[in-house]
């Protein structure tokens, strides 16, 4: 059985130790020093040089849509934000449904999902992307030639090209540490056990138990995303999550689709069209062949063409 991550977002305190540990162990460069205006999230997204990303979602007041489509750059001061959020329509959060009742500050440490059916892996034309002996999706840096096809093939927007380096990078699930029997850096650094690393079967059993526990404690929105019962074409995820709100809130797709699940029908549709063009061209050419047997008869397919051509011939001669 493969190794993976179970990220329990109800335990995350947003300390970003996972981000730092990942950057340190994997020697990844810093990206920027922008203030995004997106709560405490100045990392913004996973990238070629950021393989753990802690998302922060502020849900203040009754609405669970505190952050709906509001670009960080356009946001006014905190007071005005909470005021505008209060006025926004949205489903009411039942009291006791949230971790803190009315107000919630959700945090989630995002990472490559190491999908069972991985879009990047299926797309890679060089064989640089492989599934390693621990069941995880890994980019071999000595093979990747930076074609970039895996980038739009990832249903979670994880893998990315690093322009300066010319290759794609993403979480390796600390392949090097695993080979030495060590826990990946992020899981090792997590102070609340929000990130757990281990054998997937054990992690899943533990995660299911945790869902039951949370429901018993009144957090009835808790569920596993990417758990063992996933019915998407991507399949169960080797790095799965316990969430307490809709996937969209965490920037995750509800029903992620493996792009290559449609590759055979797409090939067939194209082949069918090719056959149609073959037949249509054949029809035209064979008609022309009949004409060429007796070119001076003004017949099929182009009546009156000879006459017209003769006229041009005359004009040409005059010139």
């Amino acid at each position: 059985m493969a190794n993976g991550f179970f990220t329990d977002t109800t335990l995350c305190i947003g300390c970003k130790a996972c981000e730092v540990a990942c950057k340190e162990w994997n020697q990844l460069p810093a990206e920027n020093y922008h203030l995004s205006g997106m709560s405490y999230d100045n990392t913004v997204a996973l990238s070629a040089t950021t393989w753990r990303h802690v998302a922060f979602i502020e849900q203040i007041g009754n609405g669970s849509h505190a952050t709906a489509a509001t670009d960080g750059a356009n946001r006014p001061g905190a007071q005005a934000v909470s005021e505008s959020i209060r006025q926004q329509p949205g489903p009411q959060v039942r009291s006791g449904d949230g971790l803190l009742g009315e107000h919630r500050w959700l945090m989630m440490s995002d990472v490559c999902k190491h999908c069972t059916n991985a879009g990047c892996l299926d797309a890679c034309p060089t064989g640089a992307l492989i599934r390693n002996e621990f069941g995880d999706v890994y980019v071999q840096p000595d093979i990747c030639n930076g074609c970039g096809y895996c980038v739009p093939a990832c249903p979670f927007g994880v893998i990315d090209l690093q322009q300066a380096d010319g290759r794609v990078w993403k979480c390796t699930l600390c392949f090097d540490r695993q080979k030495e029997g060590l826990t990946p850096a992020c899981a090792k650094a997590c102070p609340t056990q929000s990130i757990l690393f281990g054998d997937l079967a054990e992690l899943r059993a533990r995660a299911e138990k945790r869902v039951g526990m949370l429901h018993a404690r009144g957090i009835t929105g808790a569920y596993l995303y990417g758990g063992p019962d996933e019915h998407t074409s991507v399949g169960p995820l080797n790095a799965f999550f316990l969430l307490v709100d809709e996937p969209h809130v965490y920037n995750l797709p509800v029903n992620p689709q493996l792009p290559q699940s449609k590759v055979l029908p797409a090939y067939l549709a194209t082949a069918l069209t090719a056959t149609f063009f073959g037949v249509a061209t054949l029809y035209t050419l064979l008609a022309g062949r009949r004409w060429s047997k007796n070119p001076l008869s003004a017949g099929f397919p182009l009546r009156g063409m000879r006459e017209k051509t003769m006229r041009w011939g005359v004009r040409r001669n005059r010139a």
């Binding site: 998302a55 670009d71 064989g127 030639n145 927007g157 039951g212 019915h231 920037n251 050419l285």
Partner: protein, 377 residues
Amino acid sequence: MTQTQRDQAVQVQRSGSTAPATTYYGRPMIKRPTWKWYIPLYFFIGGVAGGAAFLGGMAQLFGGEHHRATVRHARWIALIGALLSPLLLIADLGRRGRFHHMLRILKFSSPMSVGTWILTTSGMISGVAAVKQAAEDDFILPRQSRIGRLARAVPNGPLSLLQAVFGLGLGGYTGVLVAVTAVPLWFAGVLLLGPLFLATSLASGASLLALLALFRRHKATAVTAASDEQARAEVEQVATVAAAAQLGLSVARELATPQQVARPLRTGLWGAIYQVSAVGAGMLAPLALRLPAQVRGRAVGRSISAAAATLSLVGALAERFAIVEAGKQSADDPLAYQEMTKSKPGEARPTATQQAQRANIHEGFEPGQVVQDRFVR
């Protein structure tokens, strides 16, 4: 206008409804394609070469004697395409020196891998065909030289058949390559982009052949002149069929695409370029110019023919660039991606309640129970 009103206006503008959609600060959910201008230009050049190679191969196999020029032109176009295409593709790589890593494997799940081999094979076939053509024409390569004799000995039948088949492959695979991604705009037309790219390839390839036929100097006799006109008329007939297919597939793609997903090709700069240049100039105009004469069984006038062919080529170029650039915009739109990946509750995974029930059945959970940690070293 208060901030709330502004936010709602953004909502309405983005989703077309007042229902608040949830995104993560409006951030993209997937990464945008990293391809630079080389790739859409390659789609165009490879497409023209593929379409011309197909038509030339078919003309050699099934066409009359009057298609000699068509075959010759097609072979030279295919050669130029085979020389330019790899250069453009390699230029776009992050590590250009590693282009040959594409040739390590063949993987059917990856249209890029399949396409690499289609391009490689069709390139070699085009090379052989062009050398054979040069030898036959005594052009650069002398007919009686050793290589000339060898090249002329290559049988026309299998060579032309391969050139036609791989020409179609070259024209069509790029559409599948683009479609089989997580980009909402492209994936929405997953079954239509391959056929559309193929139709565009054939329309542009046939148009270039028609254009070259127009520039060809006529022989003095009426028979040879009529032969040339006949050959051009046949090529244009194929171009018209392809343009009609292009139009039909484009309309089908529009109908199959939800409003939020289709936005980048309906609005904005690339939307305008797509609608005006690709569909208007590239599909409708050539049909409008050629069809009136064609349905009456007459030859298309020379100037009209030249205009139609040029517009078709410009349209093909615009279509390639618009679809690639609009795809990048589509990747940046979280609402489009949400539209593409939506599902009914409990369809993608059991609902929270179902999961809790399952957990309690399997684990016999008791409130307050402490779970031992066995996982973290």
